[in-house]
């Protein structure tokens, strides 16, 4: 049994209360939701917050709502809920692809989208997914609410735009017609962190050419998406040659490091291989959406 260092604990009653508690307990307080990142780090004494502020009672943060051209997902939404949502599966298959390979059912029952994004682990899947879908993060703080694009949300490994006295409230995804998306991950074993994963989203115009494209990679030191690779596709009819070229550019743009999961050249190869696979699938799904 791993033994954490001493800490105190409070259970927030609503969002306002959670923000007040963050304010009161200061920089050594941490929000806890699913706890699947923070608790292991505390048990290994790598993280030692003095206060845990538990937001698991905040039902107002747990929702998946379609409103106009947006899908709004509360920060406390569990992975399982995302996995089981037909709205999510229909509109953003990449989320379902990713959720199927995030950890295991035990973690997915408890872990949340907000927790994943705020933890901002470089090997975290939903960060890539949200990048690729060009999602927006709604952040609440003492001064009210602000909306941040994903490109501004990520500040590097384990760092986000959410300040110490703020709370991630909601993620917004824009619904586009004739769109498709996909995610694929290679791991040593189910539940392991990704060796590499790739995500792609495309939007087609009425004539089937690529109007909008986004490519993201997980666990290879890439900030945001790969504009140069995306540019290859834009305005073109989807074609295997373009996937190959875009994947080549994406693989060249990332910065993998050698570790127990594999050497740099293998990871770069995977970035290439997986980018091609997700582009193929995303385009096929978009074409299917067009026909449908």
């Amino acid at each position: 049994m791993q033994i954490p260092a001493p800490f105190d604990y409070e259970r927030a009653s609503d969002v306002a209360n959670a923000l007040a508690l963050l304010e009161r307990h200061g920089p050594e307080s941490r929000i806890i939701a699913g706890g699947h990142s923070l608790l292991p780090m505390m048990k290994l004494r790598l993280a030692r917050p003095e206060w845990l502020i538990d937001i698991n009672d905040l039902a107002e943060l747990e929702f998946i709502r379609r409103e106009g051209d947006q899908l709004r997902v509360g920060a406390l939404t569990r992975h399982t809920a995302l996995l089981e949502s037909t709205d999510v599966a229909g509109l953003f298959p990449i989320i379902r692809d990713a959720e199927q390979v995030i950890a295991d059912p035990v973690v997915r029952n408890r872990g949340t989208i907000g927790g994943s994004l705020c933890q901002a682990d470089p090997a975290e899947d939903l960060s890539t997914v949200c990048d690729v879908l060009r999602a927006q993060a709604v952040i609440r703080g003492p001064d009210g609410e602000r909306i941040v694009a994903m490109s501004d949300f990520h500040r590097g490994p384990y760092e986000t735009a959410v300040a110490q006295n703020e709370l991630l409230y909601e993620i917004r995804f824009t619904i586009r017609p004739r769109s498709g998306s996909a995610y694929e991950k290679v791991e040593r074993r189910v539940g392991d962190w990704a060796i590499v994963a790739a995500g792609a989203a495309v939007g087609l115009s009425e004539d089937g050419t690529v109007e909008e494209a986004a490519i993201g990679l997980t666990a290879v030191g890439l900030d945001g998406t790969v504009p140069e690779a995306e540019a290859v596709l834009r305005g073109q009819q989807p074609h295997e040659d373009l996937f190959v070229e875009a994947a080549r550019i994406a693989a060249a743009a990332c910065h993998p490091v050698d570790d127990q999961r594999g050497p740099v050249d293998y990871k770069r190869h995977l970035a290439d291989e997986l980018t091609r696979r997700v582009l193929r699938r995303a385009c096929a799904r978009a074409a299917g959406a067009q026909e449908g």
């Binding site: 049994m1 033994i3 001493p6 040593r188 074993r189 127990q260 999961r261 594999g262 997986l274």
Partner: protein, 797 residues
């Protein structure tokens, strides 16, 4: 004789689902386990109990300069902080290992591996004990570490064991067996010789329950009660008596429910000793339970063998000889648990299932700055490494000869009429009939169809592999004249009492860690006495309640203790005959046995059941001269030979050519463990072992960086397989009883762990044949498979 029949259901049992004796039977221990009512070490809470925690070295090799415990001792909840110096005063700083070496309990001179025990804090609760560790100030003087075993014997390599007077290098032993000259002669004239370096990386048993102890020393009568996660309670008691100087009759070892052992819980760990010292120092019970990282970093690992293999054959595919030179990494202390005369365990079974003209091996054991251990993880004393070596070499030979690997094996098996078979390294295989097992596995797999499918897939550029392995184990150590551990002969005891109402208790010296002993041993007694298994309690794991014996490891429970239990039941049955004769007023020789009762020959209605006889024994019947008024007996069983289970395994894998990811699609396992006592338990053992095999083949390794930092110190880094990585196991069996074992049983506990890794790796290498791959070392992670496809396969680090 080999059969494919299960033991026939006993007609005497009204319900065919509840055999009296051998047969499928739900495990008697499971109701408490599935209800969460097992009692493990951490469930034991004694009045006034304190908690200990171990401060571990953050570096692999460093001289200890100073330890300051002042601040830790000032913690309001801390009662004691014990250092190596304190242990030196008690002459307990070093303890003997199970391999004629010594191991530091706490560091006194220098740290020899990362995670080594440096100090022990005792506090009112486990949180405070952990907090105290952060208050201990230790100063180290760094030394260059020896991490790569290949560099351990380099001139000028740092000497790890400078505690041993006169030691100038890191060599532990050189051991050889077989005839080197004869083997060389065969190799020199053979048509075909292939050589390959085969590495079995360091892996870890990783039992679900980590190691722990609760020590309760009574200062009034000097009695020590020690609750421990141990697979060998009696051997531990003797060693504690020798090491700690506590008289053996004042020591009681209790091994409660154990959450998995796999060899990890054979040895005596510093934590156990420290809990004892903590209890002596504080006068209160002290609990110590290690966390997962401690278990992975500091307790017995397994394998770590670098094997240079060579195999010689005729061009027609007759295998002539096998030769190997092994470099064995034993870590910082030689703490493997193995028979005294076998420094490389039973590795000499590397001759496999084949009729060879010659064989030779040399094993060199070396120290490195890594955790000690070596024999663990269902290894049958290094049978795992041996089988892996020979089964890889045979596959490499098949590729060289362009022969089907199954056909090559069939061509070279030891023939049934050659048993008992004396191999070239000194073993006498008790019984075997290999071809039927091989044929059955091929039939179950649909071997020809699989090969056709593979050809079609190759044409499409898809990678599919079929891997075969055929193993022979040597287990059930063993005859005491040959095998001992620190001088204790490897025999086991059993005591059986039948109570007046015909219910019985059998006390055994081996210790279950999940194997189902409470069921299997009850079934052996049931088979011999004809009383239902549910009427028989099996008592184990408490030295005050059980006879002496060496414990459970190396698949020895059924081969050794199973023999003891069968014999003790027969002794009771023989005694029952005399008592029944007295009760029936006839002569013992006029009685005949049928399962459960003695009756008068020619008059089946005149008889006495075991229950009636038991009551008679304790009742008023006038007993014959020399017969005590009970129905009890005891034996110690010294097996005349080891047993040699075998099996044929076939694995089918699909490899993603774009990512190197391996999917084990099918696995067919045909096992022959001799007489099958409880087929359900056997299948469970096989399923578990096969899953182990997938883990080792695909993902498990205890890796180190160049400084000796353990890179596999949590389950995030040391991967063990889940249900997602394993297929539906397809199991089959043949039955070739052991001729010398009282019930013909051979042991099954480690067969699947031994047999499955070569089948999986052979399948992967087979899948990669289009890339010219002839060998790759485990673990076959996606990255390593991809590197092999690029022609850059490399040994694991």
């Amino acid at each position: 004789m080999t059969t494919t029949q299960e033991h026939a259901p006993n007609p005497a049992a009204g319900d065919p689902g509840r055999p009296i004796g051998f047969g499928r039977l739900q495990r008697k221990e499971d109701p408490r386990f599935v209800r969460g009512k097992g009692t493990y070490i951490d469930d034991i809470v004694l009045p006034g109990m304190l908690h200990g925690a171990i401060l571990r070295a953050p570096v692999a090799h460093a001289r200890l300069v100073s330890i300051d415990t002042t601040e830790a001792l000032a913690h309001p909840k801390v009662l004691a902080v014990i250092t190596g110096k304190d242990l030196q005063a008690l002459n307990l700083a070093w303890a003997p290992t199970l391999s004629a070496d010594v191991q530091a309990v706490l560091v006194t001179d220098k740290v020899r591996f990362q995670g080594q025990e440096v100090a022990f804090a005792v506090a009112e609760d486990r949180y405070a004990a952990r907090d105290a560790l952060e208050l201990i100030d230790v100063e180290y003087d760094m030394l260059p570490p020896v991490i790569d075993a290949r560099r351990a014997l380099d001139p000028g390599a740092p000497v790890i064991r400078d505690d041993v007077e006169g030691r100038t290098d890191n060599r532990i032993f050189d051991w050889e067996i077989g005839d080197a000259a004869e083997t060389e002669a065969v190799f020199a004239t053979a048509d075909v010789v292939v050589a390959q370096e085969v590495v079995y990386p360091r892996v870890h048993p990783a039992p679900m329950e980590t190691c722990g102890a609760v020590a309760d020393f009574d200062p009034i009568d000097g009695r020590l009660t020690l609750y421990e996660t141990t697979q060998a309670p009696h051997a531990h008691r003797t060693l504690y008596a020798i090491v700690a100087g506590i008289p053996e009759h004042k020591i009681r070892i209790v091994s409660p429910d154990i959450g998995g052992g796999f060899g990890n819980k054979v040895g005596i760990y510093p934590g156990y000793v420290l809990a004892v010292v903590g209890s002596i120092v504080t006068g209160k019970p002290v609990k110590w339970v290690e966390d997962r990282s401690e278990n992975l970093m500091s307790t017995s690992f397994a394998r770590d063998y670098i094997m240079q293999g060579e195999i010689a054959a005729t061009k027609e595919g007759k295998i002539l000889a096998v030769r190997t030179n092994v470099l064995a990494d034993h870590g910082a202390f030689n703490a493997t648990a193995q028979p005294t005369k076998n420094p490389a365990g039973f590795f000499s079974i590397f001759t496999g299932s084949y009729d060879l003209q010659a064989a030779y091996c040399k094993v060199t054991g070396v120290y490195t700055n890594k955790a000690p251990g070596g024999v663990a993880y269902a290894c049958s004393f290094r049978v795992t490494e041996a089988v892996y070596l020979v089964e890889r070499m045979v596959d490499i030979l098949a590729r060289k000869l362009d022969m089907d690997p199954a056909e090559l094996r069939l061509k070279n098996f030891i023939k049934p009429e050659q048993f008992p078979y004396a191999n070239k390294t000194g073993w006498v295989y008790d019984s075997g009939n290999y071809e039927p097992a091989m044929r059955l596995s091929m039939q179950m797999a649909g071997y020809e169809d699989l090969r056709r499918e593979q050809l079609e897939k190759r044409e499409r550029g898809e990678l599919m592999g079929i891997g075969v392995s055929f193993f022979t184990e040597t287990v059930g150590a063993g005859p005491r004249k040959h095998f001992d551990i620190v001088g204790l002969g490897m025999a086991d005891g059993a005591e059986l009492r039948v109570h007046p109402t015909g219910k019985a208790v059998v006390r055994i010296s081996v210790q279950s860690q999940g194997q189902g002993h409470e069921t299997t041993f009850a079934q052996i007694v049931a088979e011999e006495l004809g009383i239902p298994p549910e009427s028989i309690d099996v008592v184990h794991g408490d030295t005050d309640q059980t006879p002496f014996g060496l414990g459970t490891y190396g698949s020895r429970s059924t081969p050794v203790s199973g023999g003891a239990v069968a014999l003790v039941a027969r002794k009771v049955r023989d005694k029952a005959r005399f008592i029944a004769a007295a009760m029936l007023e006839t002569r013992p020789e006029d009685l005949e046995w049928e399962k459960g009762r003695w009756f008068v020959k020619g008059d089946p209605s005149a008889g006495k059941t075991i229950a009636e006889i038991a009551f008679g024994a304790h009742g008023t019947v006038a007993l014959p001269e020399g017969i005590d008024g009970n129905l009890d007996a005891e034996v110690t069983y010294d097996p005349p030979n080891l047993t040699f289970p075998f099996g044929a395994y076939i694995c089918v894998v699909d490899v993603d050519a774009g990512t190197g990811h391996v999917k084990v699609r099918r696995f067919i396992a045909v096992d022959d463990c001799g007489t099958r006592i409880n087929p359900m338990i056997i299948e469970g053992q096989v399923h578990g072992g096969l899953t182990d095999g997938v883990g080792m083949a695909l993902m498990e390794i205890i890796a180190f960086d160049e400084e000796g930092n353990c890179l596999s110190s949590s389950f995030m880094d040391y991967l063990i397989p889940t249900a997602m990585e394993v297929p539906d196991w397809e199991t089959g069996f043949t039955v070739t009883p052991s001729p010398h074992h009282p019930i013909g049983a051979k042991g099954i506990g480690e067969s699947a762990t031994v047999g499955s890794p070569p089948a999986i790796v052979n399948a992967i290498v087979d899948a990669l044949a289009p890339y010219g791959v002839t060998h790759m070392d485990m673990p076959c992670t996606p990255a390593r498979v991809w590197e092999a496809m690029q022609g850059r396969a490399r040994p694991p680090v």
